[in-house]
């Protein structure tokens, strides 16, 4: 797979992105700060994992990456820029430029593959609709190309003539992976692609995804709350809490030496063979994104919070392990 030499090694650059839900009903105005100032980059040929609990803002972040923002969601400030084929596209400054890039350079794999394919049409039509216009081949050649692609993913060509409800959950998700990769895009976003599957199927799907990514050399943003999946597949890992990135680093470093107390807690809660220690859960509830706590958003639940944490927002800085962390007392948590 040829890698065009672009201007920067980053395929995706996100700068100070703020995305809020602005609600104004019956005279009451409310702003839910789903994404509140996120800076991140994703390099070529890497799998970047995003982890966080539900309503941490990861889904809103994903939506803002692909430009699927609809009212009442609004991009308040910041930018999202992609590097495709040597050309930079700013998602929100040049929305028309995104249209031809969709699926050819940027594709998505969504959660809940149950309804993701059109239930009243056969699978082959989804392929035609999504990928046909990029390939520019006649019907027979296109079909052959798709079948060859399916074959590489260990899927039989009969899948194309089936209706989505006739396939099993695992099959459907594999078809979705095939659909998302048939144009050989440079960037793939996967949002909880294995959450609804049982463990064995999950393993197969993850292996498939890794195989495809390696072959194409694409960048993948892989979102899931399940840290054990991240351990298996992500190269780098970013932890999101309350709409902010609080730690980022290589997976190995994060698991071995988490710098942020939240990360430490997440990793510590993973079950390990032979480990029978009792686990303690975090106190408190996830923060209200419409009225988040002042200063560091984690401080109400943090076991090592100090006075400063209630006033000042800790900036995202280089950590002791080479990644980034946003904590005034980074590294002071005991390793699990």
């Amino acid at each position: 797979m040829n890698q065009p030499t672009g201007l920067s090694p980053n395929v995706l650059t996100v700068e100070d992105l703020r995305v809020y839900y602005v609600l104004d009903l019956f005279g009451v105005r409310r702003e839910v700060r789903a994404v509140d100032g996120i800076d991140m980059t994703v390099r070529r040929d890497e799998i970047y994992g995003l982890a966080g609990e539900s309503s941490s803002g990861k889904t809103s972040l994903i939506k803002s990456l692909v430009g699927a923002i609809r009212p009442p969601m609004r991009v308040m400030s910041g930018s999202v820029r992609f590097q495709f084929g040597g050309r930079e596209i700013d998602v929100y400054k040049e929305p028309e430029a995104m249209r031809p890039a969709r699926w050819r350079h940027l594709s998505t794999i969504l959660q809940g593959s149950m309804n993701v394919l059109n239930p009243v049409r056969r699978v082959k039509h989804s392929f035609t609709d999504f990928a046909g216009r990029h390939m520019g081949l006649d019907r027979a050649a296109f079909r052959r190309r798709v079948e060859a692609h399916l074959d590489r993913l260990h899927l039989p060509p009969s899948v194309l003539d089936a209706f989505p409800h006739q396939l099993s959950g695992g099959m459907r998700q594999r078809v979705c992976i095939a659909l998302a990769t048939v144009c050989e895009p440079e960037f793939i976003i996967a949002d909880e692609p294995t959450t609804a599957l049982d463990v064995l199927v999950q393993r197969d799907v993850l292996a498939l995804l890794k195989e495809v990514q390696t072959r194409l050399g694409s960048s993948v943003v892989f979102v899931t709350h399940d840290l054990s999946v991240h351990a298996a597949i992500s190269d780098r890992l970013g932890i999101i809490y309350a709409g902010r990135l609080i730690e980022e680093g290589t997976t190995a470093a994060l698991f071995a030496q988490p710098q942020h107390p939240y990360t430490a807690h997440l990793i510590g809660s993973l079950p390990r063979m032979g480990d029978t220690r009792p686990r303690s859960s975090l106190v408190g509830k996830p923060p209200n994104l419409a009225a988040p706590p002042p200063g560091c958003r984690f401080h109400p639940r943090c076991p090592i919070a100090i006075d400063r944490c209630t006033r000042d927002v800790p900036p995202l800085q280089t950590s002791a392990t080479g990644g980034r962390v946003a904590c005034f007392r980074a590294g002071e948590v005991a390793a699990p």
């Binding site: 609600l23 104004d24 009903l25 009212p71 009442p72």
Partner: protein, 286 residues
Amino acid sequence: MFRILRDLLRSNREFLAGAVMVSAVLLLVALSFVSPYDLMATYTVPPDLPPSGEFWFGTTSRGQDVFWQITAALRNTLAFGVVVAGASRVIALVVGLVSGYAGGRIDQAIMALNDTLASLPNIPILLLVYFVMRDEMNWWLLALAASLLGWTYDSRLIRSVALTLKTREFTRHATFSGMRMPQILLREHLPYVMPIVFYTTMNNLIWAIGLEVTLSVLGFTDINRPSVGGMIYWANASSAMVAGVWWWIAFPMLCVAILFLGLFLLAMSVNEYIDPRSRLRRLRTQ
């Protein structure tokens, strides 16, 4: 509850319009109690007079003041609609709740009966009732017949709510805590069912009034009792259009239009308000 009404009146234009229209009609109905004429009598005023300062809506060929006739007509028509809507509501609630809670074969049997009744054409059957009863026909009989036909659509809705409520967590909690079935039904489930009942009541009211107007216009109810459809019937029978007595037809029709539009707007806006999905849709388009 009043806070909801206030919110709706302030922010929802359709609700406001509907409320205004219905209030206007209700005002007319209230006026009917102070009418200076005996409204069942004819030839109490000079006939065929166009609208003027003395006779606001003109007079009919039968010597009746159109304005005061309309007030009584609206009262009778509305009363019919309310009675039918109320009666069929009760039937729909009973049938729907029983069917939903009983489940299994009883549910299937009741729903089969429901669907069968629902697919029958209403007007021919009501006409048949009228035809057969003819001279014995009166207001109450027609109301009874209409109620017996009007509950089928709503009972299905209520049944589906009952089905979901039966298996919800809080029902099981209530049962475990020792609440008895009637108590559960009344205290826990009724609040869920009420919004649907309200929406279906409005719809049913519109249907019932429409039925009354239609049957009266065809001359198939007690035509001496003033009703909106009846006025149009008499106007047609006296060839009002041809004779140029347009006000006899126009004003009843206008009142009918306002009444229906008002009720419809109310029903739609309340339904939209209650349904959280449509509220979200309103948000999205802001």
